[in-house]
């Protein structure tokens, strides 16, 4: 294995997003912080409780998830897509970097950005609601898995996309509806039927609930969310590996 090669790609990826921190870290942080302020305060959430937890605390795990998922996805997808557009993909294809090194480099870079934004979101939330991490191990596992899965999905999108329009398709038409309808700002358990049952088909619901169980100690089971994340992790890794191995949309 080309350890130095994978490391070089990882360092390049991290430096790349740190060169434009306003766009890659600050902007998403402000976005999720605004959600926090608007939903928890101005819409009257300060007084209400869900499942015995103050609303201002209840939405923190979902917002941390949102920060991680969006930024991990965007980093991997945009970075890989730009590499194709600006022609520097040639540098990667000619170098002794196999699927393993390419995955390690791109995914670890994207996870770093996702986790950084997630951590900063959580630190902002601390100011409003205090720190709440009941099950540290479970929480960290969920955060890492979320970051991994959405980085991998972003990479697949970056490999697949041929136009800027296509790269925007996933965040706009898939990620945003799934996350906003995924119980980030509310409990799907309290939805009327048939919306409650329909919501349970949204994988994000189970990821957010699992994270909520870890951070807030709520009784919801995290097993389904964990299972989904693990399945997505395996499935997306196999797909991305295969795309890189055969050079799908990368080699003529």
């Amino acid at each position: 294995m080309n350890v130095i090669g994978a490391q070089a790609l990882f360092v390049k990826e991290v430096r790349r997003f740190l060169r434009v921190p306003g766009q890659t870290v600050l902007q998403p942080l402000i976005g999720t912080s605004l959600y926090f302020v608007v939903f928890a305060y101005t819409l009257g959430g300060r007084q209400s409780e869900i499942e015995g937890v103050p609303y201002v605390q209840y939405i923190v795990p979902g917002l941390v998830f949102l920060g991680i998922a969006n930024n991990a996805f965007l980093n991997a997808s945009s970075s890989f897509f730009i590499t194709k557009i600006q022609g520097t993909l040639v540098d990667l294809l000619v170098a002794p970097l196999g699927p393993l090194e390419l995955l390690l480099g791109f995914i670890s870079g994207a996870m770093t950005r996702g986790l950084l934004v997630g951590l900063l979101t959580w630190l902002v939330a601390l100011l409003f609601s205090g720190g709440h991490v009941v099950h540290l191990g479970g929480t960290v596992l969920f955060l890492l898995l979320c970051a991994y899965v959405f980085s991998m999905l972003g990479l697949i999108a970056g490999i697949w996309a041929e136009k800027f329009e296509q790269i925007n398709f996933f965040p706009t038409f898939l990620m945003m509806p799934l996350t906003f309808l995924g119980g980030v700002f509310y409990s799907v358990q309290h939805l009327p039927e048939p919306f409650r049952t329909i919501s349970l088909f949204n994988p994000v619901v189970h990821m957010v609930e699992g994270l909520r169980a870890g951070m807030l100690g709520l009784p919801q089971t995290s097993a389904l969310g964990l299972g989904l994340l693990l399945s997505l992790a395996v499935g997306s890794t196999v797909a991305a590996w295969q795309m890189l191995r055969v050079g799908y949309k990368l080699k003529s």
Binding site: V3, I4, V94, A95, L97
Partner: protein, 304 residues
């Protein structure tokens, strides 16, 4: 010793177009090989198949004796490519780009090597400049530095001097000679036939995916090259003396003679003219050119 690059029956099909049609060739260690041909002949596709940029349809490619179907990664540690299209990562400086490239090839940071290349390619003043701020010629120099930063043993130069000024072209030529002196093998594609003539040990002519000719440059020029001699007379010459060959112009003031294998030499023709006391006013000599040979090969006038 196994050849540095061995291609056997290589075929690449794009839909109904056959970009490579059973190409076979061997490149030996330490040589400079020029692959010539018109646009769309298959030069870049051939290089791409050897460098991992193109998925071949059939055939075999061995790099340093390793079958790329068996191990496509290991031989790449020793390969460098200057691609035809200029590319650069606008987030990084020239030096950072070279450090990243070193890393991709599994090498620890080596600023000494980077400084040496920057100096050789006249990029030292731009070392800390953002790549997006470089001129076209400077970006081309950076591409060359990136291809060489890990000290490859085989370098592919795909149209390395396309659209660059004479200075860079001369710089590059001298650097390619230095690479050869250090034992590096160079595969070059170029539209500037003068470049191939200047640098190559062997040349291959490819057209429509087929390798039409593969020969040592010197032998090829001797075999197919035509020197042109033009003699201008100070007064009309009615006929040529014994021992002189060529064609007199209609106004009888010029002699045109094509020297090639099997004919008299230009020197013999000139000697005959002087010996006959003809009024020679001016002599122009055009040496045998690879360009003319390639055109004749492409037209099918001459072959292997």
């Amino acid at each position: 010793m196994a050849p540095v690059l061995e291609v056997d029956g290589l075929v690449k099909q794009y839909g109904t177009t056959r970009a490579l049609d059973g190409v076979s060739l061997r490149i030996e260690a330490g040589e400079i090989f020029a692959l010539l041909g018109p646009n769309g002949a298959g030069k870049t596709t051939l290089i791409g198949a050897a460098c991992g940029l193109v998925r071949k349809t059939s055939g075999k490619v061995h790099l340093f004796g390793v079958d790329l179907d068996v191990d496509p990664i290991t031989p790449r540690y020793r390969v460098g490519l200057v691609p035809q299209e200029i590319n650069f990562d606008p987030f990084f400086t020239v030096r950072e780009s070279l450090r990243i490239q070193q890393g991709y090839f599994g090498q620890a940071r080596d600023d000494e090597r980077i400084d040496e290349l920057l100096a050789a390619l006249s990029l030292t003043p731009k070392a800390e400049a953002q790549t997006r701020a470089l001129s076209g010629g400077m970006k081309r120099r950076l591409l060359i530095a990136k291809a060489l930063v890990h000290r490859p043993k085989l370098v592919f130069l795909d149209e390395p001097t396309a659209g660059v000024d004479v200075e860079l072209r001369r710089d590059l030529w001298s650097y390619v000679r230095k690479l050869k002196a250090e034992g590096t093998t160079v595969v070059l594609t170029t539209h500037y036939l003068e470049e191939a003539q200047e640098l190559a040990d062997r040349v291959g002519v490819i057209d429509r995916g087929r390798l039409l000719l593969l020969e040592e440059k010197t032998a090829l020029i001797q075999r197919l090259g035509q020197k042109q001699l033009v003699v201008r007379f100070g007064a009309k010459v009615a006929s040529l003396p014994q021992g002189a060959a060529g064609t007199l112009s209609e106004d009888q003031l010029e002699l045109h003679f094509l020297e090639h294998a099997g004919t008299q030499t230009s020197a013999q023709v000139l000697s005959a003219l002087f010996a006959a006391g003809l009024p020679v006013a001016d002599v122009a000599m055009q040496p045998a050119r690879l360009e003319d040979i390639m055109l004749r090969v492409l037209k099918g006038e001459v072959g292997p």
